[in-house]
């Protein structure tokens, strides 16, 4: 339990891993939000094919553990592609982003759908009765309110996503847990190393929570809190 030694030896290593953790989380959240919006609009559309695509996507992602998804994306699918193209290779970084983005997208889709459906029907009616088109009413009236309702679950999803990056250590992605495992394998400094890793996650997620409180406040509907 030599914290001094671990700090000196492992800190640079772990910080490098942390960078990867944050990077892969940010990229996946960005892609996932876009995926989620598309899937949500598909799900709410009247077109049965689009609806089915969205439903199957969400069903598969929610119905399987992410560790299995990561194995499928990183090992199983490349094996299939290699039958056609023997030189095909997928690196852990790309596979990690694909897996995590697909995950974020499915959950975001459900968050957005719930948010839109939580906006009172009268809001759409009032906007339409003023002469706004459906698209105008959606973008000016319904979506801003749906977004506000969705902030807490969105933040929750961000937090889960940051933590889920650790699962990607199983496909060899050099994020913080993966780096820690490597270091511990050589030095057996379990306690100090993993406490440090836990502290890293706590710090990153605490920052997220502070930012989210700020965002929530900015979107509140009272005149005092805006001025």
């Amino acid at each position: 339990m030599d914290f001094g030694r671990v700090l000196k030896e492992a800190l640079p290593l772990l910080l490098e891993g942390l960078k990867m953790t944050v990077l892969i989380a940010l990229i996946s959240i960005a892609i996932g939000i876009v995926l989620g919006l598309i899937s949500c609009l598909f799900g709410l559309s009247k077109n049965k094919v689009l609806k089915a695509i969205s439903a199957v996507y969400i069903w598969i992602i929610r119905g399987t553990p992410m560790i299995v998804q990561a194995f499928i994306v990183f090992f199983a699918i490349p094996q299939l592609i290699q039958l056609l193209n023997p030189t095909f290779k997928l690196d852990a970084f790309t596979a990690g982003i694909i897996t995590l983005s697909l995950n974020v997208g499915a959950y975001m889709s459900e968050i957005f759908r719930a948010g839109i459906q939580a906006v009172d029907k009268g809001q759409m009616e009032a906007a339409r009765s003023l002469g706004l088109s459906k698209t105008q009413a959606m973008s000016k009236i319904v979506l801003p309110q749906a977004f506000k309702i969705s902030i807490p679950p969105i933040v929750n999803q961000f937090i889960i996503t940051v933590k889920d990056t650790s699962i990607l250590s199983v496909i060899g992605l050099a994020e913080v847990v993966n780096k820690a495992k490597q270091y511990v394998g050589k030095t057996y400094q379990f306690f100090a190393t993993y406490i440090l890793v836990a502290a890293f996650y706590l710090i990153v997620i605490s920052i997220l929570m502070v930012v989210s409180k700020f965002v929530e406040k900015k979107f509140s509907y009272e005149s005092e809190s805006k001025s």
Partner: protein, 243 residues
């Protein structure tokens, strides 16, 4: 009197449930029509068919010579000319009072932001809420909210106003201020269709009272006739309960 709204054989079903079973009525320019009747009689549905918030099952609704049941009619354009006030106000909570009133004219590019803001202020002044322009709807009382909703629906300069039980969700002491605002509108010559339980308002302000029950218009006429001297059994029965 020129007919502003013509309704012919209007039917509306929700699934198996036929709510309107054939409504025929003409509403003249500048006329104030109050629609009364027990709950479930179809009066709100009738009102919502006049601006196509409910899709019509059968029949015809013509507003200002536009057949709004015709798929080719641009319903958004027609709706600009029909203001609507809802029982639950439906103000936009993420916008200030002034922004609520400005939203339609600005979004539909009827005028510049500057002009819309000036217009909003003059409308807010008209409903006695000029000092609330920067407040958010959640900071207002029910009566104030409904007056803002009236100002908002006037922002597009409609010449027909639909009121769907505008005072039913209000505390009793706030009913008066909303009715007063509506009286001023009526006095200014606005064509109004008002679904209401306020018999005093119907008697005092309306040109015509329409009694609906079971998806039909049962009886209509001048308020003194329908309210004071109803001919039909169902009208008598209803009025004996509410008066």
């Amino acid at each position: 009197m020129k007919a502003k709204v013509k309704v012919r054989g209007l039917k509306k079903s929700f699934g198996e449930n036929e709510v309107l079973k054939g409504i025929d009525i003409d509403i003249g320019e500048g006329e104030v029509v109050c629609v009364i009747g027990p709950s479930g009689s179809g009066k709100s549905t009738f009102l919502r068919c006049l601006n196509q918030l409910e899709e019509i099952t059968d029949g015809q609704v013509i507003v200002d010579d536009f057949d709004i049941t015709d798929k080719k009619t641009n319903i958004n354009k027609v709706r600009e000319n029909i203001g609507m006030v809802f029982q639950h106000f439906n103000l936009f909570p993420h916008k200030t009072v002034r922004e609520n009133v400005m939203l339609a004219p600005v979004t539909l590019k009827k005028c510049s932001k500057q002009e819309a803001a000036e217009k909003a202020d003059s409308l807010l002044k008209r409903v006695g809420l000029l000092d609330k322009g920067d407040a958010y709807p959640d900071e207002l009382s029910g009566g104030q909210k409904q007056r803002v909703a009236i100002a908002r629906s006037l922002a597009m300069d409609p010449d027909i106003m639909l009121f769907d039980e505008p005072t039913s969700a209000l505390d009793p002491e706030m009913v008066g201020e909303v009715l007063d605002t509506m009286k001023e509108l009526a006095a200014a010559g606005m064509t109004m269709v008002v679904v209401t339980h306020e018999m005093g308002f119907a008697r005092e302000v309306s040109d015509r009272v329409v009694f609906m029950d079971g998806g039909y218009i049962i009886e209509q006429g001048a308020p003194k006739d329908v309210i004071n001297n109803p001919q039909e059994e169902r009208t008598k029965d209803f009025l004996s309960k509410v008066l």
